[in-house]
Symmetry: C2
């Protein structure tokens, strides 16, 4: 057999420890690249020629990370800035479910986000949101996705699958609205992303039987194993990592349907901890074998996303390669995307191509001027009544779960009439921003009183204008401040605006670079603390309060929602 | 959480041991099916209702086998009869590379084969042949596939990928003809099937770098591991199974890119041993863990073929299920395809839908009447010469490999002039059947003399008319008999036709049912033995002699081919 003629590469990366995700091995190698693809891995030969050569300095060479379930909007960064940050963290491809912007702007928002996320080396695979609004009938949103809207999006060449099916109960119960969307996607052979949440047993199987074959909510080893046994791709996010979970992941006989994902990463975590590399690092710290963690964040994700030319450092694959010093806490010192070095010494060396953000700016903010009186809770009583039984949202200060409690509150008089005494509680008000002149009020027992008010348009999933506060005047000012900014967040105290974060892109994302937005958000969080909101993750609390699919009780523009029993609740049950 | 409403299935298979290919487990279960899909696996519930119920009798429930690399033509059966036999063996899907018929009839032969293979529950995924003819310039065939022909086939909705790229040296050497075909398929995102043969090291990597990511020729653990490390899907066929190979397969850290395949299965093996189930059985007998063998023949193949709704018994997947008694030697007693029971008590219960075979019958057989003189080997000599140095094909009686030997043969006189004395040898002649009036002659040292002649139109890959024999008159009769049958095989002795097997479909396949064809082939093989051809696998020998890509020396209609050095050889080097 004759030898190969002299090999000539565009780029030769020498002297690396190559992590091979096809056999979980790590070994010394060089990597030959021509054009956008890898040509050779293995021992260096004297006969090799290369236009450019890089000494890998003995660093580990990993495939670029692939995040198979995430949302671009979560960081509130402009999408290109998010992309740059993801690349700095070694992520070269993401599958983005744009259901936040879709709730606000509909399919045209999805296309606008696609444009906004282009122009950097990050490959963004866009999904068609399936569950918009997340809780039909229980919230007002800017768009409703049915089979027709979802089909229209799937026809778009830039969209490759159906986004997370969040109405898991609807699917398990055989509800036609959501099943029609899933069936349409299945008939097209599209990948269908899931959100199975608490489903188990027969109900989980009905979810899988509909053709939904991934889930990013498995919270313990039992859920992991149950889902895998059904052929589900289980996508583990940081909040579901534990020593027990990684032990189960280490022990799997078959593990090609396990991925690591980020789902939602708020700005501060993104900037201080990282993107998918942080989930990898956390999993390894908890005991996951490093090569498995890397496999779960690369080739397994590529396979899940049906991308056959990435996810590994191997001949024929796209040259998406990161060089990292610490295999247990990867952060690229050098990053190659499709054959081009785009990050050196930890710094990006490209300028994003300008993109058109105008469509994202033209989002609805159809809220009338909010008056102090809009925040008043009127109570209809008989003259002898002194107490009211009130449905209260109880929040224990961490996570996203709320508890429904029925509390007896004393009645009191005010300038606007009889109301309930909310000592020890604070108010939340949600204003529809899509042109329906309506809002709802509720009370939160959040282990705090608020001296001031906080308003924001980032509120899962419908992103109406949500206002929290102890003082009706401050609440009105906060609401109106956000209205006038046409989206964003602000904090108010004593009639003064303490902090504001403009989010002009759909009311969800900033136009500012990461450093500027970080400063704005930090000032906003500082103001929130000053007002009295002292939770570990205040943005989680603030943005998830209107999410009517997240247990146990939430408030939308329609009112209090008993999520578990899928029904509306009155704020005041009775007076006596 | 509310319970699932009463589950109602079309078919409930109770009391089976379910083999779960997602976690390599076997456990007692029932399987609920509605329509064509599986709805539920697991514990039976009293609340279950079903239109039909089957007691699985404690048998193992396996997914239908999926053969990810095979050729429909190999058995010589009409495609529907092959499909029935495959189903009897538990195979429910095959990826068929129709390069045999494509050599004869071109793309229209591929479409005709697709039609001929339809009408049974076997799912046939058809590939577009990439390497037709297999050795351009060294054989005459009925069609040449270039990028344009391959692209035309890939456009056909029934064709889903590029068939095995057999010109591995061409790819490794950067030859533009074959690279253009591969590039075209890669640009379309098509799956590309490979045949890497002896390639290793840099040359194998160049093959992989072209985008070819499977191989069914790995013959030992080293080749298995080298290919897997490059991300290649390694498809193991029976002839490459060994104790060492299965040990390596058992020990893989990552094994989702390993499949079991059949490639070519001749009729006798197909009828007596089975189809893919036989490969599974052999692998297990050699030590492969049974659940792994089954995984390699089901979900791994489905993943390779990018079929996301089959390959496993799990909710949402197509109900392709076989019930087998012996996990170590699976043969279905019951087979369900897409929710329908199509085999019970080991017997098929359906009638294939009639299909149109006419296009397959209209194949070229453009060979003129063969005369005895056409088989004569003339020798140009100087008067004093008494010897000739002759290039001989040496065959040791097993496998497909031949050796090139240079032999000194005495010269002798005959009615037609001077020739060589072929005592101890026999002749092979290959007649172009595509309208070029040419043929070539060669000599075989096959440890036998032939008393009579054998002719056939099944000759890899161009399927010209090939004739073997010791007697020129018998050879002419055999050739003309096959000519008049318009394709097939026949054996002749002493001027009498001993046996004939008509293969009217492209000259490759019969129109007869399996029992009839089996009888014909057995009679033919018996006649071959009588003539003196006593190899273990005579059909392998007879059909592979013209294959100019199989080492080391072969004979096509153009003459002797030195396969290793890719050049023509003269039959007679010199006389002296």
């Amino acid at each position: 057999m004759e030898a190969v003629r002299e090999q000539s590469f565009d780029l030769l990366i020498e002297n690396v420890m190559l992590v091979n995700v096809f056999n979980d091995s790590v070994s010394p190698a060089c990597i030959g690249i021509s054009g956008e693809r890898i040509q050779y891995i293995g021992e260096a030969k004297a006969s090799f020629k290369a236009a450019d050569t890089i000494d890998g300095g003995g660093l580990y060479a990993l495939p670029g990370f692939i995040d198979s379930h995430m949302h671009l909007e979560s960081s509130m960064l402009p999408p290109q800035a998010f992309a740059c940050r993801a690349l700095e963290c070694g992520t070269t491809m993401v599958a983005a479910d744009p259901h936040e912007i879709c709730n606000v702007l509909g399919p045209k928002g999805v296309y606008a986000l696609m444009e906004a996320a282009s122009g950097t080396p990050l490959k963004v695979l866009m999904l068609a949101p399936s569950t918009v609004p997340s809780a039909p009938g229980f919230e007002g949103s800017g768009c409703a996705v049915g089979p027709q809207e979802a089909a229209e999006m799937l026809e778009h060449p830039g969209i490759f699958g159906l986004g997370e099916v969040m109405d898991f109960n609807g699917v398990a119960d055989g509800e036609e609205n959501i099943l029609a969307v899933v069936r349409m996607a299945r008939e097209r052979g599209a990948m269908i992303d899931g959100h199975a949440s608490v489903l188990t047993g027969e109900r989980l199987q009905r979810f899988a039987a509909a053709g939904i074959d991934s889930d990013h909510t498995a919270a313990n080893p039992e859920q992991l194993l149950e889902r895998l046994a059904l052929g589900c791709c289980v996508q583990i996010q940081e909040c579901n990592l534990s020593a027990g979970m990684v032990q189960a992941m280490n022990e799997l006989a078959v593990s090609n349907r396990v991925c690591l994902v980020t789902d939602d990463v708020p700005l501060d975590k993104l900037m201080h901890q990282g993107q998918l590399n942080h989930v990898v690092t956390r999993a390894i710290a908890l005991g996951l074998e490093p090569v498995k963690a890397i496999r779960f964040a690369t080739i397994n994700a590529a396979d899940r996303l049906r991308r056959y030319d990435t996810g590994a450092i191997a001949p024929g694959r796209l040259a998406n390669i990161q060089l990292v010093r610490d295999l247990r806490a990867p952060k690229p010192e050098l990053l190659v995307v499709e054959g081009k070095v785009i990050l050196e010494g930890g710094r990006l060396n490209f300028t994003p191509r300008p993109c058109d953000l105008s469509a994202l700016c033209e989002h609805p903010m159809l809220v009338k001027e909010v008056r102090k009186e809009d925040l008043f809770i009127p109570v209809e009583t008989k003259p002898a009544d002194t107490w009211a039984k009130v449905n209260i949202i109880k929040y224990n200060g961490s996570g996203h779960r709320t508890k429904k409690v029925l509390r007896n509150l004393p009645l009191c008089d005010s300038q606007l009439g009889r109301t309930v005494d909310i000592t020890g509680l604070f108010k939340v008000a949600v204003f529809n921003r899509y042109g329906l002149d309506r809002h709802a009020l509720a009370l939160i027992d959040g282990m705090a009183e608020l001296d001031g008010a906080i308003a924001l348009t980032y509120g899962h999933d419908a992103h109406n204008l949500t206002v929290y506060g102890g003082d009706d005047g401050d609440m009105a000012l906060a609401a109106n401040t956000v209205r006038r900014m046409k989206g964003g967040m602000c904090a108010v105290q004593g009639g003064e605006v303490l902090a504001r974060v403009p989010l002009p892109l759909g009311g969800l994302m900033s136009r500012e670079p990461a450093e500027v937005l970080s400063g704005q958000v930090e000032a906003f969080l500082e103001a929130c603390r000053k007002i009295g909101l002292k939770y570990a993750n205040p943005i989680t609390f603030l943005t998830l309060m209107p999410l009517a699919v997240s247990p146990e009780i939430k408030c939308t523009d329609l009112g209090l929602i008993d999520v578990v029993n899928k029904r509306m609740l009155p704020l005041i049950e009775e007076c006596y």
